[in-house]
Symmetry: C2
């Protein structure tokens, strides 16, 4: 089977892998911690990891590498417009890495790469239209439509974290990391939820969470809310209800608009606890259009942390 | 230039045309009023109109016809799942018309057909990703993504009229024609707006509209609201503000999710008056993600009523 090379580039860690393009199996993996986030240093670390993965897998040479990273990427050019985790703006990463490796480099958003991986080898095998809805510290989506990755005119399709929502009347308005008001991520992303819980604890509005595991005000987050909810805490239950309304409506609207046959749920927030996911699924079922619901199967992501690097490698095939 | 045959099938009128597949020009058109909406009668009327259009354009024969109709269509099979205007459910229209004409028939939603027409010959020529947002008596969208029509797994992609929204606190909840609550169309479609205006007039909440042109309570609708708004009526201005918030957010969310390079505005509600369109554009600009806004140009539909029949013909090419 032919091998393909993928790179999953995070804010402080990167992972290069040679994957079997026929099965998605990882033939070799190299993980590197890159404390220096300057483009030149990351390019050096990435090039070394890719070469080592290729060597370890017994590849005698390679002509292409695929990259997934958390940020806005102009796929056709390899230009990274904005990658907050890396502190990058307008970095021509594809060109730089390509020059370092003497290979063609294709760059995409990490959720686009993950959607591609799940489509080929994971939870959406064999279907034409699949949407990956990811909710972890942030919220986003990857779109495979008509059997192909949809990245959009500027490479930023799938930014469901920045669709505008109206939270419940009475919920305080929160500003998103992107600078805008009313973004879904500002209410339903893990970072935003943790910030809200900290505020509510400091104000004495979340008494139950004080005794939850890891009950340090600075460390309050989705895992604690899930645990408190399981223990019957009313604040936690009400918060999950509200988050599930927003995530469930977003999921329903994605499906109503795009009519995929698979909706793949991914990310620590959706996969980290059974209560929130069950609420999101119920809200989705109640709010999706009846016609789009007919073709839909909702599934959990199947490839876990490998989806990104596997999908990245597929970009290079 | 090769000619292609399209059929635009409405609830009471149908239009068949032979179009120049190289320019989109209409070589011949036949319009027919079909009072009898039963499938057999519509098939007969449609087949006759298509044959007459082909004859009038000097075609010596044809092997394929494209059809656009307001409804949910399983494009690959020609099955019409639901077409409220025609009162149809699960009608194998593609197969029936194909048998009558001895030709291959491809059926699609009318907004999908219109998006295809605008993409090839109208407001979105030369781009890969275009979204048609249509607001008339109903609300919907047609999606051309990666240069191809995106119809979804069940042929119902683009149903933006049935995405779920939260209207302003205080606005009465309205049930959509589809049976669900909170659909965009139930607040921002022309039929729904007319119903709301009638109720508000009957309850004395819309005094300004009593004197508007066509001021018959039964005939109140978007055109009257636009006129009253132009005359400085406060009820009308507030209503347009609210409708524009919903349509503008829907447009912004479509663009944030799909990152098209063109957003095409179509339909009588968006094109019928300058005030509402200006409000929708302003809301869109304020609420779209900054990254998706960079690639976006907002345009009015260019082909008017011809978009549907031209796009239908392209389906057959």
């Amino acid at each position: 089977m032919p091998l393909a090379l993928g790179l999953d580039l995070g804010g402080t860690n990167l992972r290069a892998a040679a994957i079997d393009a026929g099965s998605g199996a990882l033939a070799a993996v190299r993980k590197v911690h890159h404390a220096d986030r300057r483009p030149g240093a990351v390019v050096d670390a990435a090039a070394r990891a890719v070469r080592e993965a290729a060597d370890a897998a017994g590849m005698t040479g390679f002509s292409a590498v695929g990259v997934g990273l958390a940020g806005q990427c102009l796929g056709s050019t390899g230009l990274v417009l904005n990658a907050p985790n890396l502190g990058w703006r307008d970095v021509p990463f594809g060109e730089l890495l390509g020059r370092a490796l003497g290979a063609r480099v294709r760059v995409a958003n990490d959720l686009s790469a993950a959607a591609l991986g799940e489509h080929r080898f994971g939870a959406a095998r064999g279907v034409e239209d699949a949407v990956l809805l990811f909710a972890g510290s942030g919220v986003g989506a990857g779109l495979v439509l008509g059997g192909r990755l949809h990245e959009g005119a500027g490479g930023v399709a799938g930014e469901v974290g920045h669709v505008k929502v109206r939270p419940r009347p009475g919920t305080a308005e929160r500003r998103c990391g992107c600078g805008q008001l009313s973004c879904l991520e500002a209410y339903a992303g893990g970072h935003a939820i943790a910030a809200r819980v900290r505020e509510d604890r400091a104000a004495g509005r979340a008494p139950g969470l004080l005794g939850a595991p890891g009950g340090d005000p600075a460390g309050a987050g989705p895992a604690e809310v899930e645990a408190a909810c399981a223990a019957g805490d009313r604040y936690a239950a009400a918060l999950w209800e509200e988050v599930a309304e927003l995530l469930g409506d977003a999921a329903a609207n994605l499906v109503t608009l795009l009519n995929p046959s698979r909706l793949i749920l991914g990310g620590g927030l959706l996969l980290g606890g059974t209560r929130l996911q069950a609420l999101v699924r119920a809200r989705l079922a109640a709010r999706v259009s009846a016609s789009a619901a007919r073709s839909l199967v909702v599934v959990e992501a199947a490839l876990g942390d490998d989806a990104g690097v596997v999908g990245a490698a597929l970009l290079a095939v």
